[in-house]
Symmetry: C2
Subunit: 226 residues, 2 copies
Amino acid sequence: MKHAVVLLSGGLDSATAFAVAKAEGFAVHALSADYGQRHRVELERAAAIAKTMGAIEHRIVKLDLRQIGGSALTSDLAVPKDRSTDDMNHCIPATYVPARNTILLGLALGYAETVGACDLFIGANVLDYSGYPDCRPEFLTAFENLANLATKAGVEGARFRVHAPLLKMTKAEIIREGVGLGVDYSRTLSCYDPDAAGRACGRCDSCQLRRKGFAEAGVPDPTVYV
Amino acid sequence: MKHAVVLLSGGLDSATAFAVAKAEGFAVHALSADYGQRHRVELERAAAIAKTMGAIEHRIVKLDLRQIGGSALTSDLAVPKDRSTDDMNHCIPATYVPARNTILLGLALGYAETVGACDLFIGANVLDYSGYPDCRPEFLTAFENLANLATKAGVEGARFRVHAPLLKMTKAEIIREGVGLGVDYSRTLSCYDPDAAGRACGRCDSCQLRRKGFAEAGVPDPTVYV
């Protein structure tokens, strides 16, 4: 059986990427990072998703990015609310975490090497949300190139692949794809600023995109909002 | 003043890379990773080096690579002792940490972005020790390429550079360079398996290379061995 490492945040995109990896026949090793994010309830959701979706194992790597800071997700900066679609499409937001996907894919690469996997899945997506530089195709291609040079497995002939199956899909397309694959989106949490009970704020960029996605997909939105 | 992030492990190479960065006129932000290494006394040495060598700040990012495992430095695997020079030159050792330099440079990149630095220094070295794939020039070039695509700063026009000033130097040349720049090597620890008092084992690959380096450089070895 082919093995893959799937980066699992507990959000809608990564749960869908997980479902795609399973549908493509991969045995899934799920990896989450406890990086000091303010929305820590994500990690509980990630664990529940990994379990119900049949991960071979789920590892949570502690990584305290608060030491680095620079983001609304890892510091005291305010999470932007009620931004316009235009702002979302053109301004890199305060929720950008410096070098996050480089670090997360690095962890996924190390994990993949220890379990003998060559395939990494990430729920990166550019169409709906172009603000994050490390979600762009050219970044993912550069990481794939790096992975083959960075590792013992690569030196020995392995060829790593970075799969970003959602890269060019709209949020609505992602949701339709996931529903078709049986993803239970009520278990996922996309909000950058949920309350202690894990209810979504409904107003951050991520909530706005998610809500719009369900509406456009014609799928009932199972999200519990504040 | 130009700012740089220097990856500082507490060992001989990274202390020398720090000295080179200073000599080149950079204000140095030192970054160490507490990655669950068995030789944790390294971190105390890193802190002391950062302080005495005049770092603007020193951050230690907690990152539990034991969750990933796969290395003698982060698991119960035995640290190889008394290996021949031939083995060292041709076999990737058990002390290889999967994707370590990808992850560490990713952290350095995130840190650099938050402090407005574009220059990353790493004490990677290939000549004396060719076993680690992520110390090779082609890896470092690939990371530099990745860095410019991965970041908000890169999108906005910054050009990141990965400096590996020791890359093609022998251990003896590194030591001579460092002595010329005033590095106090008695503060550094290279051993993969020191005792609780921080004394070097003298037999792991790293100890053997260090000892040979001081001998070849004609510099008294200040290392305290068990």
